[in-house]
């Protein structure tokens, strides 16, 4: 991507004005919902709905054609069928519009006619220097600019995680999970057919985007995986990239004649090569979101020594299971930490002190939880700490104690409250405000810790990216 390309993308995500071409008054249509999303999302720039006959939609004056719009818009959202889309795109090009989002499907995925249309689309973009997101996409968002240019009117929390998705449906699944988890979003790109703007282009753009701290990617597959992994690897030196790739079934290519060829299951290849380039892979939407969440809220640990603190053993065992095979060190306790914990809980403990630190029933007493977390965080063997608890009707949650302990230490703290997502809303808000990600399952807490350790190992510029 050239600097000019980046500039066009900046305009696409921060448009001063937007045209909705194919806006309609009927709420079951895409054109209506693109408009509704812009309004509902709080977009502050000028909106120009375009429809040949209608006069007003959702309180906005309608323009009969793109030619009637009194200014050159920065972004055209096109909600027409595939044939009309291509014609309108050419009009946009002639008017000097540089950015467009094309929602319609019916291009190369449908056969010869669609392929021919897509070819023409590419020619138009080249001729007029247009950048297109899609076709066949949910759209884009930039929460920083109050821009929801998708056909799903939603209200989302603003933050520093940006997402690139090859699927609208899973893109939405990730967005919703982020909402549940209190993860603030910055930008979203549904790349669709990737006819003009590729995933690698979006990665390069987000790498230089000041609002984006972490990039999450949902990937089905691309033709030029070589460029993708090279770009992702390069970007991952500047800011964390987490990729969830589907297609894990290891179907093999029976047509190959050598052993090497027949053993290269597509996912195995993908996994080894993305690891080679240091990009973190997630195996599911929850893992992707848990990883992005930790990377969004925490600073990176100085090393990989992971401490676990609990008063109930099971969750830590599950967490350790999730970490198995990732070469994560679970160091023992320093002698000073054992002495410190015994000074708090008494000499004759009914439990053996080791890592995970399991204090049993003694750990639930108010007042002691914070002291114990202080002790664990002070252990020189630990670079980060995950704490576990089970919220209870009659026992206060250790939220304030965790925040206080975290403020005294430079080490990242992650916490797992075994609960429903709704049950700990206030705690989540307070903890995450203070930079402590709260998870409702030990699996997710483990994934979060693993993501921090992965990127702490890459070192360099990433550590300054707090």
């Amino acid at each position: 991507m050239t600097e000019d390309d980046i500039e066009v993308m900046q305009k696409i995500f921060n448009p001063g004005s937007v045209a909705v071409i194919g806006a309609t008054a009927s709420s079951d249509r895409i054109g209506y919902n693109l408009l509704d999303s812009l309004i509902y999302g709080g977009y502050k720039g000028k909106i120009y709905p375009v429809h040949p006959k209608l006069k007003e939609i959702l309180g906005l004056p309608v323009y009969p054609s793109t030619l009637d719009i009194p200014e050159r818009v920065d972004l055209a959202l096109i909600a027409l069928n595939q044939r009309d889309t291509v014609d309108v795109l050419e009009h946009c090009g002639k008017l000097g519009i540089k950015g467009a989002v094309i929602v319609a499907g019916g291009f190369r995925e449908t056969g010869d006619e669609g392929r021919a249309l897509e070819k023409r689309l590419v020619e138009i973009t080249k001729e007029y220097g247009l950048k297109v997101v899609g076709p066949n996409t949910l759209g884009i968002m930039n929460l920083e600019a109050g821009l929801n240019a998708t056909f799903y009117p939603v209200s989302l929390k603003k933050g520093n995680v940006s997402l690139i998705s090859q699927s609208g449906g899973i893109g939405f699944s990730i967005i919703q999970k982020c909402s549940d988890e209190g993860v603030g979003l910055n930008k979203f790109v549904g790349v669709g057919n990737r006819t003009v703007l590729e995933i690698s282009d979006c990665l390069e753009f987000l790498a230089g985007d000041s609002g984006t701290k972490v990039i999450g990617v949902f990937l089905e597959g691309v033709e030029n995986a070589r460029r993708l992994v090279q770009v992702a690897g390069k970007v991952a030196h500047r800011k964390p990239v987490v990729i969830y790739k589907v297609g894990q079934s290891n179907e093999i290519n029976e047509a190959t004649l050598t052993h090497t060829g027949s053993m290269a299951g597509p996912y195995k290849l993908f996994r080894d090569i993305f690891n080679q380039y240091g990009v973190l892979l997630a195996g599911s939407v929850p893992e992707l979101v848990a990883s992005c969440k930790a990377l969004s809220l925490c600073r990176l640990p100085a090393g990989g020594g992971l401490g676990l603190f609990t008063y109930t053993a099971g969750p830590t065992i599950v967490a350790l299971d999730r970490l198995a095979g990732r070469k994560i060190s679970i160091p023992g306790l320093a002698p000073g930490t054992v002495r410190r914990i015994k000074a708090i809980l008494g000499e004759n403990l009914p439990v053996v002190l080791k890592n995970p630190i399991d204090t049993g029933g003694l750990g639930t007493r108010p007042g002691t939880y914070g002291l114990l977390v202080d002790a664990a965080l002070a252990d020189p063997n630990f670079d980060l700490l995950v704490t576990f608890c089970c919220p209870h009707k009659n026992w206060p949650n250790p939220t304030r104690e965790l925040i206080a302990a975290h403020q005294k230490s430079h080490k990242p703290v992650l916490t797992c409250y075994i609960s429903t997502v709704k049950g700990v809303e206030e705690d989540r808000e307070a903890l995450q405000q203070a930079g402590i990600p709260l998870y409702c399952s030990p699996d997710e807490a483990a994934w979060g810790a693993a993501a921090l350790i992965h990127y702490s190992r890459r070192g360099g510029a990433l550590h300054g990216n707090a």
Binding site: V222, L257, T258, H259, T260, G261, A264, L269
Partner: protein, 227 residues
């Protein structure tokens, strides 16, 4: 230059598969250690070469039409003397007559036991040249213990590959077996990855087995397919 010449010769004869002799010649040009392999066209020549090579020897069928030599019963190992060489030569001729009645054989020294690994290349549609490393010989297909890297592969990545396979204990020494020379494996991996990047018409390449010893490693068999 030498690499190009070997490939052009194969192209001229209308083939995309390099024979073992051609594959090893190409590897040797790149400084990769291969077990020498001389072509003999008849029984007497075979016997003479076996004597020159020193017993025990290995006889393999050599034909542009035969890719999987064992499947055609075209490989005889550990031949201790002249009589067994003669018998093996006749067997190969008989077994392979249906495919190539004029097949010659290669005479190679029988190499002492070591750990057998596989080093390979595939030109992947999406990633381009990719290098594979794994357990070789009979374990290749059974265990599928292979790891991949996109070429070119750095020395550090080659080292990681060697230790990433599940069976890496076989390389580090176990139950009285000594640790093997993983450095020489890394050299072959990086050499092969460089070859894969430079020679764009390699579609697949198998060095299998590569035998690695406490000191040194050698390519025992190789096949290369062009696009």
């Amino acid at each position: 230059m030498e690499t190009r010449r070997i490939i052009e010769n194969v192209r001229k004869s209308g083939r995309t598969f390099l024979t073992e002799v051609e594959s090893k010649e190409l590897l040797a040009v790149r400084g990769i250690p291969v077990v020498s392999c001389r072509v003999a066209r008849d029984e007497e020549e075979t016997v003479r070469m076996a004597h020159e090579c020193g017993f025990p020897v290995v006889l393999k069928v050599n034909s542009p039409y035969i890719i999987h030599k064992s499947e055609h019963k075209g490989v005889f190992l550990n031949l201790g003397g002249e009589q067994s060489v003669r018998e093996a030569f006749r067997s190969i001729r008989r077994n392979c007559a249906a495919v190539d009645p004029e097949a010659s054989v290669t005479v190679q020294p029988m190499i002492k036991k070591g750990v057998e690994v596989l080093i390979g290349v595939i030109a992947d549609r999406q990633f381009g040249p990719v290098v594979a490393f794994g357990l070789g010989g009979v374990f290749t297909e059974v265990l599928k213990d292979v790891v991949f890297r996109m070429a070119p592969v750095s020395t550090e990545e080659a080292e990681k590959m060697v230790y990433q396979i599940r069976g890496n204990r076989l390389l580090r020494g176990y139950r009285g077996y000594p640790a093997v020379d993983t450095l020489s494996l890394q050299k072959i991996i990086t050499g092969i990855s460089q070859l894969a990047v430079e020679v764009e018409d390699i579609e697949e390449m198998d060095l299998n087995p590569v035998v690695v010893f406490p000191r040194g490693a050698m390519v025992l068999d190789a096949r290369i397919k062009l696009c």
